[in-house]
């Protein structure tokens, strides 16, 4: 079930809130686990079995590791951790990567339906067993809080990937404060607005542009901008909704995006985009590999490994691996070569250059292969021989001008800060802000009802 559907917005979500509110304190967690499993099963019954198996396997794995550590048997605990990690990755690999690897060796294999959210829940359970092994948290003997951590419905399908150490303190008791609830509602509505009223229309224009035949250079550039904005609003919208819903159930989850398109360097960009995934790779891959406390050569290897894995996590394709290498190379350049030069140029130019680097990268994201990505880049530089600008460019630019302007303006924190500043001034402002959010909700619902359902882009990962 997706957050941007009528059954979720008007049936599941209000019912879940009501049930959660009505049940006694001691039953809240078990109710939330049942609701989360129902939410997941709505879209994927076979996936639900896998999710349950994965949860059960890692539940016992963590208890085994904890028992071994408690008896001072670190070596065997390490073996238990490694076998658990291998088993978890094997499950992910079977569904997500087996076809890719078989294809490398020329073996044609059956395509498998990717269980919903498998990349996210696998990283969640890996976080759990690793945190237990590294002593960041104790293994949870009670199944309910543990299951709640893995399956909590706002984050099960597309994250944010919450690390166990960061949320363990909230699992047993997570009272819903009125201020947190209000802030959750606000965040949810902002996320819905981002998805339904910005990302979806941009996606529709991008899909149309993409299939409009030979692209003039400017049209190809415009397509890259459409997709870059769509991806941001789609995924950050989802993340806002997920974090907002979690707040309404008493959980505090860190933000997943922090205005990435105002970053003034590649490293800065990746501190602001899909923050939870970046933290996961930092804590469970980069730091165990030695992090930055090593030689320059080793550091470069560590960074590039993390980036190749990040690319590969997004999809089993050479285009994603290339995307990882592309960003790894920019991060290395940023760190070792161009940072000092970058710092000497005006901030707006740095932001523009960073956005250009990021947007070029997204071409490898939306293209089905490296070849077609380079084909698109070729179009941007005139390889389609359709000129720099034609009627299609004018049409796509002018028919989306307002949308583009809104999308670009809301990439910056200024509109949000402005709305916050006027809404705290006095009581009337709070009322006006509330009416504003209600109007936003009505417009979003109108758009959902009148348009074809559009899935979130990150569901495919």
């Amino acid at each position: 079930m997706s957050f941007n559907t009528i059954p979720f917005l008007f049936v599941f979500f209000p019912a879940a809130l009501l049930i959660f509110r009505l049940v006694p304190e001691r039953a809240k967690n078990i109710v939330l686990v049942i609701l989360s499993l129902l939410f997941y099963a709505w879209d994927s019954v076979s996936g639900l079995l896998l999710l349950i198996f994965s949860m059960a396997f890692n539940y016992f794995a963590a208890l085994e590791i904890q028992s071994l550590l408690d008896h001072g048997n670190r070596q065997t605990a390490r073996t238990a951790l490694i076998t658990s990690v291998v088993a978890d990755l094997a499950l992910l690999g079977f569904y997500k990567y087996a076809g890719f690897f078989a294809g490398i060796f020329g073996v044609q294999t059956a395509e498998r339906e990717l269980p919903l959210g498998i990349s996210f829940f696998t990283f969640t359970v890996l976080s759990y067993v690793s945190d237990v092994y590294y002593g960041k948290a104790e293994a949870e003997r009670r199944p309910v809080p543990y299951m709640l951590y893995v399956s909590l419905f706002p984050k099960i399908i597309s994250g944010p990937v919450v690390e166990y150490r960061d949320i363990v303190g909230q699992l047993e008791h997570h009272p819903v404060k009125a201020s947190a609830f209000r802030s959750g509602v606000k965040l949810f509505l902002i996320g819905l607005f981002k998805k339904v009223l910005i990302a979806d229309p941009l996606g529709s224009s991008f899909a149309s542009l993409r299939n409009s035949g030979s692209l003039a250079s400017a049209t190809a550039w415009l397509g890259m901008i459409f997709y870059s904005l769509q991806l941001f609003y789609d995924f950050s919208g989802y993340s806002d909704m997920a974090i907002g819903i979690a707040k309404m159930f008493g959980f505090s989850i860190d933000k997943n995006f922090d205005h990435p398109y105002i970053s003034d360097g590649v490293t800065d960009f990746w501190r602001r985009w899909h923050i939870s995934l970046g933290h996961w790779f930092r804590d469970y891959v980069y730091i165990p590999m030695g992090g930055n406390r090593c030689s320059t050569k080793r550091l470069a290897v560590n960074l590039m490994t993390v980036w190749i894995l990040t690319g590969f996590w997004h999809g089993a394709g050479w285009n994603f691996i290339f995307w990882g290498i592309y960003h790894g190379a920019w991060v290395l350049l940023d760190r070792f070569a161009i940072r000092k030069i970058f710092d000497t140029i005006p901030r707006y130019v740095r932001i523009a250059l960073t956005d250009l680097i990021a947007c070029f990268g997204w071409i490898f994201f939306f293209s089905p292969s490296i070849g077609s990505a380079f084909g698109w880049i070729g179009n941007m530089f005139g390889s389609a021989h359709a000129g720099f600008w034609n009627g299609a460019t004018t049409y796509y630019l002018y028919s989306n001008l307002v949308l583009l302007l809104i999308a670009v303006i809301f990439c910056s924190p200024v509109p949000g800060e402005f709305i916050d500043s006027i809404s705290v001034r006095n009581r009337n402002s709070v009322l006006i802000a509330s009416i504003g959010y209600a109007v936003l909700f009505i417009f979003s619902i109108a758009a959902i009802v009148s348009n074809t359902y559009t899935s979130f882009l990150y569901f495919r990962f």
């Binding site: 208890l63 008896h71 048997n73 076809g99 359902y453 495919r460």
Partner: protein, 164 residues
């Protein structure tokens, strides 16, 4: 094995591997049930079209596919869509060959949403069209997706199954 040092750890390890074995069995059974088709999209299209009556339908171009189903045909190995000539009819035929298994979920949602839209537009006055939609056949099978709303959707579905 040093696991023998700790009876509790041994129990947990046994439980862990028992779960893993169960999971492997489940995956094996599930995978065996989803046979993939090696039929090319063109062959499938030919077989389905031979069984379908498209008198009341028009073939959709990429733009129309995106409009009606919200999917991008370029992301699939093949998409065939015939849609009603007028908005007073509810015949429809969709055949999609997937590029990868991960696309099935989005496609399932797209078909379901389209069917709901059609049902909503006929509910209350178009009893015949509503009945046709309620008898429609949706089959998500391996690397193909099929949806048919017609007087005799089973005949077209049978052609799809035979070609599959």
């Amino acid at each position: 094995m040093s696991i023998s040092l700790n009876g509790r750890a041994r129990v947990y390890a046994a439980a862990k591997w028992a779960v893993a074995i169960l999971a492997v069995v489940l995956i094996a059974v599930h995978s065996a049930g989803t046979k993939m088709s090696s039929t090319s999209f063109d062959d499938m299209k030919e077989a389905v079209m031979a069984a379908a009556d498209t008198t009341n339908m028009l073939e959709a171009d990429s733009q129309m596919i995106r409009r009606l189903y919200g999917i991008d045909p370029d992301e699939y190995d093949g998409v065939l869509l015939w849609y009603p000539k007028t908005n007073m009819k509810s015949e429809e035929l969709l055949v999609v060959k997937l590029r990868d298994g991960g696309q099935m979920k989005a496609l399932e949602q797209a078909i379901s949403a389209r069917k709901d839209t059609l049902l909503q537009s006929f509910r209350g006055y178009g009893a015949e069209q509503t009945a046709m939609l309620e008898n429609s056949v949706t089959d998500l099978r391996g690397n193909y997706a099929f949806f048919c709303s017609a007087d005799d959707p089973d005949r077209v579905h049978q052609a799809f199954l035979t070609a599959y």
